[in-house]
Symmetry: D2
Subunit: 392 residues, 4 copies
Amino acid sequence: MITITTAAPLLQQYRSVRQWTEDICRPLQKEDYVVQPVEFVSPPKWHLGHSTWFFETLVLKQFMPGYTEYDPNFNFVFNSYYESLGARVIRTQRGNLSRPTVDEIYRYRAFVDAAMEQLLENPLPAEAKTLLELGCHHEQQHQELLWYDIKYILGHNPLFPAYAGEDGSGRPEARQQGFVEMPGGVYEAGFSGPGFCYDNELGRHKNYLQPYAIAKEPVTNGEYLEFIKAGGYQEFSYWHAEGWDWVKNNDVRAPLYWHKIDGRWQHYTLYGLQAVQPENPVQHVSFYEAAAFAAWKGLRLPTEFEWEAAAGQFNWGRSWEWTESAYLPYPGFERAAGPVGEYNGKFMVNQKVLRGASDYTPKGHSRATYRNFFHAPMRWQLSGIRLAKNIQ
Amino acid sequence: MITITTAAPLLQQYRSVRQWTEDICRPLQKEDYVVQPVEFVSPPKWHLGHSTWFFETLVLKQFMPGYTEYDPNFNFVFNSYYESLGARVIRTQRGNLSRPTVDEIYRYRAFVDAAMEQLLENPLPAEAKTLLELGCHHEQQHQELLWYDIKYILGHNPLFPAYAGEDGSGRPEARQQGFVEMPGGVYEAGFSGPGFCYDNELGRHKNYLQPYAIAKEPVTNGEYLEFIKAGGYQEFSYWHAEGWDWVKNNDVRAPLYWHKIDGRWQHYTLYGLQAVQPENPVQHVSFYEAAAFAAWKGLRLPTEFEWEAAAGQFNWGRSWEWTESAYLPYPGFERAAGPVGEYNGKFMVNQKVLRGASDYTPKGHSRATYRNFFHAPMRWQLSGIRLAKNIQ
Amino acid sequence: MITITTAAPLLQQYRSVRQWTEDICRPLQKEDYVVQPVEFVSPPKWHLGHSTWFFETLVLKQFMPGYTEYDPNFNFVFNSYYESLGARVIRTQRGNLSRPTVDEIYRYRAFVDAAMEQLLENPLPAEAKTLLELGCHHEQQHQELLWYDIKYILGHNPLFPAYAGEDGSGRPEARQQGFVEMPGGVYEAGFSGPGFCYDNELGRHKNYLQPYAIAKEPVTNGEYLEFIKAGGYQEFSYWHAEGWDWVKNNDVRAPLYWHKIDGRWQHYTLYGLQAVQPENPVQHVSFYEAAAFAAWKGLRLPTEFEWEAAAGQFNWGRSWEWTESAYLPYPGFERAAGPVGEYNGKFMVNQKVLRGASDYTPKGHSRATYRNFFHAPMRWQLSGIRLAKNIQ
Amino acid sequence: MITITTAAPLLQQYRSVRQWTEDICRPLQKEDYVVQPVEFVSPPKWHLGHSTWFFETLVLKQFMPGYTEYDPNFNFVFNSYYESLGARVIRTQRGNLSRPTVDEIYRYRAFVDAAMEQLLENPLPAEAKTLLELGCHHEQQHQELLWYDIKYILGHNPLFPAYAGEDGSGRPEARQQGFVEMPGGVYEAGFSGPGFCYDNELGRHKNYLQPYAIAKEPVTNGEYLEFIKAGGYQEFSYWHAEGWDWVKNNDVRAPLYWHKIDGRWQHYTLYGLQAVQPENPVQHVSFYEAAAFAAWKGLRLPTEFEWEAAAGQFNWGRSWEWTESAYLPYPGFERAAGPVGEYNGKFMVNQKVLRGASDYTPKGHSRATYRNFFHAPMRWQLSGIRLAKNIQ
């Protein structure tokens, strides 16, 4: 973790991050803040409270003399998964809590923000700055999750309400053709240099890669439609065994949010139901679908190291891209002591790495070394596909 | 079903029932309307919409020429269990719907109420009046459920918020002692005469009862505390086999809403956490608990026929009382055709009858022949215990 | 419980009951003794051991001075549901136990039988005789279950192996037509007089019955086929709500063991797959199916009291017949102290009564007052349908 | 896949592999062949049939003119997971099948063996030889699984029956001390050269490894007991998040088969319950336990590439060793067409690689490039722990 020694830019960063969270929520109805239609979705009001609790617990309670917590019950309500920070509401129960109300949580945010402003008037120890910066990046991660969850909540309502009135999609961009070819050899991966990164990106280290080629663009809706038409969801040989079970048990026939209505493919977007645009990148696919699509093409997904080594040579940033890599510690990874050590390391089993960023990623939050991770069946995030292949 | 031929009292009844539903909801925060913490609880906003949909579907759409439904999607959202009225949101999903919003549902109520007022300006066919009256009683049943669900939602929130500021409990009444003795013989049961009743109360018929005695008062919290102290929850021989499994699987140690805090028994009420008053009737017990308590006492629960035969001779009406009787059709019961026929008959298996009424029952809604019914483990309703025994 | 004071007929009874259990098992392969394809089926070897354990635990250990149990671990293995007799293998695990082996269990039977013979050489106290007689009837109940379980084990094997080589079915009998009419009035029900009965048949008591008619014969396969052809399994209005869920969740389309092969209905019998005979009584239907069939006919099932009052006037005994009655205690029923008290009483909730007997019932084991009981969805027993109706 | 052109050694190999399977089963009682106490265990009789079905389906039916299958139903019964080879009994149902009997399956084996002997009298096409060799290795894998499953079946029986009378354990060997140190650099991994290997070991490729050290010996029971005594199962910070859930949900407190009896740790072995020997390697731990133990030590597990690079410098072969590596395809891995392509590739997600071999591995079946794989919570295999660490 890189420490920063002047408080002013931190305050700036703090204010702008905090503001953006509330901006995202502005179009919501109060009811939209409350529900949790599925375990992995959290109610928006929970995100508002949890990101605030993070600052209160890790910064204010530790570094602000005389700080009195807003409400001692909130630790129980807003702790996400930190065993070191006490008991908590179990995840599946988040959507069962009507209280604290949305208004109350906004008051909680204002209370904590006022205390943070006051704290930042004076010089801070390096550890406090580190935690404050982590808190900002943490809240940015929850901003991205907020989008996913809002989309899920509205997109699974039988009324298909729109989040926003205008249509921001359907602007196809000029696309590059073909593959970037990369010779075999030793490449470095991982973060180095100044600026913030998460512990899971450290330390920079060497990998030997066989010669490979990686697509300049992600797979489009149009290409994915070909897979559907070719019977891709009906042919087991493209699928991992557990992917095939997932398809059959859930009767999966298309990416999440896709609906075939009167013979035409539409998908739910934040602007409501819209026609699927063939030239846009496919999104909301699981790892199983990404891998099956690649198998159908006779190609494969890149590893995260292949992706990172070539990232300077292709466009990325609209959708998170599944890689073949499992989410594992880099050589030399070490779990920090205390709650910060629970941030990443304890999830390093049975998840897949995604690389890139998405339309929902806050500005400046991602980078070529950033490692996102999800379980293989997850697809409510903006996940897409980039293909790779072996070359001589 | 008894039909009524003048519209004016019906309008009166309609208005007052509709108003009371909204009065019950007045103290709620908007968030409280939305959540469904467990399958058998419905979000208050769903009750508001469903009771309105009942009038719209069974009265307005059938009997008001030119009526246009408020929103064609609402049939899907607000149908409860009527197979004959089309597809519906599955019950467990009710709490996942943030839309329609609470405000929208109140607009829906106003829209339907205006149409109903207009409809009632002119003479109605008898069938319409019957359905309208059924709709009023139906909404009253949902008023009672609303209380249960509100109490469950607030009483299972870790903050234990109060619904109302004042304390309405703790007013012990003078209690009668002992048992009413009833000789053996043929008694009649079931509804007859003018006025409304449900189809499950028809028709009046004879039963032979052995001589029995039935307690003049329900079991109190104090008596139930003796059962707890005597190890009633730890001794299998008082319990039905499936009741014993229920106790162990759910680690049950007391009635619902009871919490032992610092060595003292408190219970959640609509006024917040309060001390358990020994002289008040015990509430929120399952059939299993009621039967186990009776077994511990060396007594038993009455049958619904024993209860009804003696109902004129003891006080009742604060809590619904579990009976030993299974919920079965009376001799001569017939299911009506169409959706009305789905009201009661299809639930006549694997449920137990409760008799009486509760503090939450709307005025005039119950009567001595009224048959309430719940599954044996249910206890979020105001269910209590009255004891009976055999005599010579 | 009626006590018997001469030991000789008891020894006779004991020997013949014990022998019959082993006769039933004779055609089995050793592997057939071991498996438990579904929770409610027990492995045949478990029945062999459990019925033996019953005598060892309740008779030998209590009444034979110096008796040493065969193996102290067997109490854990062969206790069924007696909380008062210690810990036990949970029911779903019975099919996971390869040991004790079948041969070992036969040795256990021989060991206990030898001790029982020795015990019976001398006069027995009345309580011992009562328990011994209960043990014989208990083993007869397990004989009937053995048949059900053997049929289930073989009938759910993809090879459909036959239990026996000859065909005992297909012998249609002369059938009576129409209904027995019974006037309204007070009728007695329950066991009285000499001979054995279970505690749930006591005591004899009066019931008032409305005038009714009850069919002289049970419903046939041919009549049931009409129900299937008429779309009975596709029309919700004939079904209880939970019956309809059961049909849909399990994709039920016919009685258990029925298979439509090449357009013809066949069913698995102990002689292998055979054509369904239209003139034979329908068997292997759940309560839901029985009630739905009756509703489709515009009729109903009898109550157990209606059944018993008319039992002298119709043929019964080939299949157990579902009644509308819930399995509840008779007036005056009392649970005995100790393990015998767990025999019946603790199951008196959420089950339905069946009356009659079946082809698998041991000779002399049933009578007109006998109350069998199963949960509503169960149908691996030989359950059939007799219709009833109201008359003026 | 390497092909072999002389049939004689193949016949030799075939005979000896087939014999060894039956030798393993010799001490079993017939009942032991039948049960499936948990989904991931298969009944021994199923292994006997499945390994035979593999030869019948992939070799005899393809390459022996005029071969008639033993029983056409056996494809349904003995197919494991091959989608390309038709429908099959679902895995959880294997233990519900009493037929075909054990004797019948031994007849099936003899029938297929006779046909194979006849087939091998004449020259075989290379593809047949390849499949035959694969069949032998496939059966060897099932031999190892047979041991696991037999141990599980007997070790989870409340009688704890022994498989064999003699005690083969408790012979501690001289152990080496300390770690092998390996400099950073490019190392090769994967199979090359003559002899058999699985497709998942191909092709040999380069990896860059940071400098590391790897223990010369696996972790012992004594060392693992220290972890238990130090409260390792109670302290979340050593565990992956899902590992911690696994511990709590399953109340895990020790390796599988360990029982603390009268204050002393014993474990079930094939010779019955025995005292845990501190100097023997710990076995029957899950990946979660292996990783938590390493975290408690301040060390880590090796990757499969670190393990393979150093395998020539330490002893291995008594227990399979968990690695940090996820089971993923090597660069250049390709799924073969047809059923053989379902052998390995479709499992390459959400599993961990284990390296080495175990006491139960058939002679000559493993090698330094062999990749075994299991899901993280699995521990009925002989899985152990080898530690690694970073060095400068």
